[in-house]
């Protein structure tokens, strides 16, 4: 490689080496700080995660507020539900009388695991992060109903946990983007495989923040590739909107983001670890959520193929997807059709949001108008 592998000026400060514990980046929100409760939360395999409860303040007694767990997508974080610049999902849930809980699972950009630390696969998320968080929330909310609203990989791993029977008795699940049947465009899949195979011995993650890597680095070709045919000059926007971490997919409809959100993209979405690619590829080529660990018996609680175990789903599911989803395409419609055919007893509904892409269903400035109504209606019917 002609490029230098490290740049002394951009190397991380030494603090990371002396600190022994993992710390979470602070949440960025406009709520009263007193109402945001950060819970020190560790999974049973010993990984520090972020779990946040939004207290309802003095609005209404907590005892009749159903809890809603919000799961972000991979490399995003709980910040995606708390955008201060627009009407966000947490605002809408609080106003409608719910108690939002935000989990930063190990793929969160508030945590360092995407760049450093030990490798993980989506099996770990499905086996440890989500079931442990649900268990913890249940100890706090008692008999109150618990809903889950999950986005992208958060939803994909949730489908694995659900079909494994690890999170029984949820009151309802809203899944955005992808659920049991992930489907990528052939081009995206090919580029993901090629890039992963070529780069995996050289780099271990794909950064998105141009300001942190600088103009001349080993990532420069990646950013250059991502800028091909891009309409927006911002390199971070290019590698996300135009290329989705180099895969060539489109993550959101550009005009749906406010300028502020657009400028904060590097904060909202972090680097993608290359080590996850083999599992993602296996899942995508099979068009179903499959387990990575075939020989490790710690993971035997998870089904080998989540779709085959879909009969274990015991809760109504709302499948949401933007009609212009450039990453997962029409996976949700496919999931609805497949489940309607193979598991007709399940309560699965599919709602398409016209004109929306993937991320803008939560980050878009009109998301409250176009998307949250569907979520609130679904929760309201089942609370």
């Amino acid at each position: 490689m002609i490029f230098r592998t490290s740049n002394p000026r951009t190397a991380r400060p030494a603090l990371r080496r002396v600190r022994t514990t993992t710390t979470l980046r602070l949440l960025h929100h406009r709520l009263d700080p007193a109402t945001v409760e950060e819970i020190p939360f560790r999974t049973t395999d010993g990984v520090r995660l972020g779990l946040t409860r939004i207290d309802t303040g003095d609005r209404a007694p907590a005892h009749d507020r159903p809890a809603v767990l919000l799961l972000h997508g991979h490399t995003a974080s709980a910040d995606m539900f708390l955008l201060p610049e627009t009407r966000n999902l947490v605002d809408a849930l609080l106003d409608e009388g719910y108690e939002p809980w935000l989990l930063d699972w190990r793929g969160s950009c508030r945590l360092p695991y995407n760049e450093t630390g030990r490798r993980y696969t989506y099996d770990d998320v499905a086996l440890y992060d989500i079931p442990d968080a649900v268990r913890h929330i249940r100890t706090r909310i008692g008999e109150r109903p618990l809903f889950v609203v999950a986005h992208c990989i958060g939803s994909l791993t949730l489908s694995m946990s659900m079909t494994a029977g690890l999170v029984p008795g949820l009151a309802g699940v809203v899944s955005q983007g992808v659920f049991l049947t992930p489907k990528l465009a052939g081009r995206t899949s090919l580029r993901m495989t090629l890039a992963g195979e070529l780069l995996k011995s050289r780099i271990d993650h794909i950064p998105v923040d141009f300001r942190k890597v600088g103009l001349w680095s080993k990532y420069t070709p990646l950013f250059a590739l991502a800028s091909r045919k891009a309409s927006c000059p911002d390199p971070t926007c290019q590698i996300l909107h135009n290329s989705a971490w180099g895969t060539g997919a489109c993550l959101f409809v550009h005009e749906h983001l406010t300028d502020t959100t657009h400028d904060r993209l590097a904060e909202l979405l972090g680097p993608a670890p290359l080590s996850i690619l083999p599992h993602l590829r296996r899942i995508e080529l099979a068009r179903t959520v499959v387990r990575w660990h075939d020989t490790d018996h710690r993971y035997r609680a998870l089904p080998q193929n989540a779709l085959d175990a879909a009969a274990r789903i015991d809760t109504p599911v709302l499948l949401l997807a933007g009609s212009e989803n450039g990453l997962w395409l029409d996976s949700q419609k496919l999931c609805h059709d497949v489940l309607a055919h193979r598991q007709p007893q399940l309560d699965i509904t599919y709602t398409e949001i016209p004109g929306y892409g993937h991320l803008d269903t939560f980050l878009g400035r009109g998301a409250a108008l176009d998307v949250f109504g569907h979520i609130l209606d679904f929760l309201g019917e089942r609370r």
């Binding site: 490290s6 995996k200 083999p278 212009e324």
Partner: protein, 794 residues
């Protein structure tokens, strides 16, 4: 509705008259009737006539005292007509000076009214007359005119009609002095009225310029309409404003319900998140002060910082008199509100109809409008009058933006369309009859683009105060024909007159309730003129809009082509307006397939022969792309089921069903799925389910031909299983060389159809076969050693 407020005694009188007419109607002459109803005519004077409610009412020349001169004959007949007409409006009664359509009468009601008048009163009125001016008093006058009492009629100027909705009447002098050129096509009455209405703008107060800030509180009228509801959502999405929606309803609850129904009806979201940002005001643009209380009017005048007037009565059959209260007086009331209190811009949704004159040379944003005396349809006249009146309002300091959409097509993403829209009707007629009239340009743009650009203008102070053509990129005849062919509908072009006669004959021979309004349009001479002007007009240009769209970084206008129309077309088809090609129609393309093999009881060795001789057909490429499905007919010979061949009652083949996801965990991907319903000669019913599978093996040629089948009696589990295969030597002969295409197509279209099918099917099969190999290859790659990350900042 104002008519509801009429005093009860008048209503009772009218009803009594109506009942009397109904009971004894047959033997009565007109004179008898007149004698009967004269008494009640006096009572129908509205109580609220006493206090003219609007400042605009203080016109020059005191209104002629009511009932001073008119002969009793006209009034009496008008009362009789009103009594009959009252039965067809929701309120159950109609004042002689109130418009039948404004009171809620529909075009169907109008047809019924005409025959009722003929039957019960012996008054024969032309249907077109009703549409031109549907006030009972005018109908009465016209009826008397035609029966020879012309002298009496001439003595009754327009102004003598007791009018509440018309605060200012046309001065009779103007009517006489008005000279019209010989090629004028407008009715002189209408021209007089238009001039009088234009003069209303001169009475607007003078006002200062509004603050050039994005709006925070917007008053929106017409939010229950097609464009209005899309604009409501876009205003909420693209601004932080709170929107006040003026909705016609009895009270606020009903208004909210009505708005919600309308918004949901256009496939738009309606939730608490939307309701928290709007305030619904029950009111009516046809009324002075919008039908609001003075307090609310004043509050709005001082609080609202932007007014968006979308509301309009869109009807191509009705005349100027019938539409002016909504379209002209309504716009002027909004101008009054804009000029009162805090200065605020008025954004007026006009229409490209202001250019709708046969033979107009160009339709640019700053080009002269049509000659008013050559506009025919009342709708065109009202839109012209409103825009010209608001131009005059600009001289009073008011900032007026005129936004002129052309045809507003269905939403490109949701497919929501306007069922009463002429272009929807025409498109569905094109698809249904497979013919199009020769037009020059269709100036139409999808509603999402029109609404987005209109909202961008409203939210951008620099853009206020100009005229914009929101017409998008015009479609030429060639574009439309090509687009429809692309969608599998090969249409033939006809001359406009030929098309009209032909379409009308077909619509009358086989009435389609959803297209009834199109039938009426094609029968009405005025509406036909409107259609003709639309179809023969030049392409609208929109330089200012284009520049604005570019400056604001909005999606540039693109042609409203087949892809953009697809969702709308699907929705039209779903609602019964359009007609998608169906399996019972002449297939677009078909070929035969022969399979041979053996089946046997489940678990045993298959040893009974089984063969199928099928005809595979598709009705259109649309079916392939959306359903991925091929229709099957033919027969199955299987002695294990029945000695005689079984007929395929209904059969489908899905190509790569469920994206090929295996039935069970593994590498056996689905390639094709066959589902046939069979009947034997004794009436027994059977089913056959077959699959072709792709596997990561080298026998690809066999994978594409071998069909694993299961058979069983209807409603019972499978009793036989086996495998049938397409013989290798028949494949090319039947399925490539043997493809037949709809004989109505030209040879060029046939070749294109055949190639498209082969390319599509080949690609799908290729993708299906590749799936298992890709997974196997990925498994091999995963065997590679995972390197320890080398990066510095671990």
């Amino acid at each position: 509705m104002r008519e509801m407020k009429d005093n009860v005694s008048a209503a009772a009188d009218q009803r009594a008259t109506a009942e009397a007419i109904e009971r004894g109607g047959v033997g009565l002459t007109v004179t008898d009737l007149l004698a009967k109803v004269t008494g009640s005519a006096e009572a129908t004077v509205r109580p609220d006539d006493a206090d003219p409610p609007t400042p605009r009412g203080a016109g020059p020349g005191t209104p002629v005292p009511v009932h001073s001169t008119p002969p009793r004959e006209v009034d009496a007949l008008a009362a009789a007509v009103a009594a009959v007409a009252g039965r067809y409006v929701p309120a159950g009664q109609l004042a002689p000076d109130a418009d039948f359509f404004d009171a809620g009468g529909t075009s169907v009601n109008a047809v019924e009214l005409v025959s009722a008048l003929e039957e019960e009163l012996g008054v024969s009125v032309d249907l077109d007359e009703v549409f031109a001016d549907a006030r009972p008093i005018s109908l009465a006058r016209r009826a008397l005119e035609s029966t020879g009492s012309a002298a009496a009629v001439a003595a009754v100027p327009e102004a003598a009609v007791p009018a509440v909705m018309q605060p200012v009447q046309a001065p009779p002098v103007a009517a006489r002095s008005l000279t019209t050129p010989s090629d004028s096509t407008a009715r002189p009455d209408d021209l007089t009225q238009i001039l009088a209405d234009l003069a209303l703008a001169d009475r607007l107060p003078f006002t200062a310029s509004p603050e050039p800030l994005p709006p925070r509180r917007i008053l929106l009228t017409g939010a229950t309409g097609f464009l209005g509801s899309h604009m409501l959502l876009d205003l909420l999405r693209h601004s932080d404003a709170h929107v006040y929606c003026l909705v016609r309803a009895a009270d606020e609850e009903a208004a909210v319900a009505r708005l919600g129904e309308a918004v949901k009806g256009y496939a738009l979201p309606w939730s608490s998140e939307i309701r928290r940002r709007i305030t619904v005001l029950p009111g009516d643009i046809r009324h002075p002060h919008l039908g609001l209380t003075d307090e609310r009017w004043n509050t709005l005048a001082h609080e609202v910082d932007s007014i968006v007037g979308v509301a309009a009565a869109v009807d191509f059959l009705r005349g100027y008199q019938s539409l002016r209260t909504s379209n002209v007086l309504g716009a002027l009331t909004l101008a009054e509100l804009a000029a009162t209190g805090r200065p605020k811009p008025l954004h007026h949704i006009s229409s490209i109809a202001v250019f709708n004159e046969v033979g107009i040379p160009s339709m640019g944003e700053d080009d002269p409008l049509a000659h008013i005396d050559r506009l025919v349809a009342g709708y065109d006249q009202t839109k012209w009058a409103a825009e010209v009146a608001l131009r005059r309002a600009r001289d009073h300091g008011l900032v007026v933006t005129a936004l002129r959409p052309g045809g507003i097509g269905g939403h490109t993403k949701t497919g929501a369309y306007n069922p009463q829209d002429l272009s929807s009707g025409l498109i569905s007629a094109f698809g249904r009859f497979r013919t199009v009239p020769a037009f020059r340009y269709l100036n139409a743009a999808p509603v999402d683009w029109v609404s987005r650009v209109a909202v961008a203008v409203i939210c951008e102070p620099d853009a206020w105060g100009f005229d914009y053509n929101l017409t998008g990129v015009p479609n030429t005849l060639d574009d439309v024909v090509r687009d429809m062919a692309f969608g599998g509908m090969h249409v033939r072009v006809q001359d406009w007159d030929e098309w009209r006669t032909d379409a009308l004959a077909r619509l009358q021979a086989d009435p389609i309730s959803e297209l009834a309004f199109l039938t009426r349009v094609l029968q009405s001479p005025t509406a036909l003129k409107l259609c003709e002007a639309t179809l023969k007009g030049p392409a609208a240009t929109a330089d200012r809009t284009t520049a604005l769209v570019e400056a604001l970084g909005l999606r540039p206008a693109s042609r409203y082509d087949a892809r953009a129309q697809l969702k709308t077309f699907e929705r039209l088809a779903h609602d019964g307006l359009a007609h998608l090609p169906h399996k019972d129609d002449q297939p677009y393309l078909w070929f035969t397939e022969i399979t041979e093999g053996t089946v046997g009881p489940i678990g045993a060795t298959p040893d009974t022969s089984c063969s199928m001789s099928l005809t595979l057909s598709i009705a259109s490429m649309h079916q392939l792309v959306t359903d991925r499905r091929v229709d099957v007919r033919g027969e199955v010979t299987c002695p294990a089921l029945h000695p005689e061949p079984l007929t395929v009652e209904r059969g489908d083949i899905w190509i790569r069903p469920e994206e090929g996801i295996p039935h069970r965990h593994g590498l056996r991907h689905q390639l094709l799925r066959y589902r046939l319903e069979l009947t034997d000669t004794d009436g027994g019913r059977w089913w056959l389910e077959g699959h072709k599978y792709a596997r990561a093996r080298r026998d690809l040629w066999r994978q594409t031909r071998a069909l694993t089948v299961q058979l069983g009696r209807e409603g019972e589990p499978a009793s036989l299983a086996g495998e049938v295969v397409v013989p290798a030597d028949s494949y090319v002969r039947d399925q490539i060389d043997g493809i037949k295409v709809d004989p109505h197509l030209t040879s060029q279209e046939k070749r294109a159809a055949k190639l498209t099918w082969l390319a599509w099917f080949g690609l799908e099969m290729g993708r299906g076969l590749l799936g298992p190999f890709a997974r196997a290859a990925a498994d091999l790659l995963d065997l590679r050693r995972t390197p320890t990350p080398t990066e510095h900042h671990r």
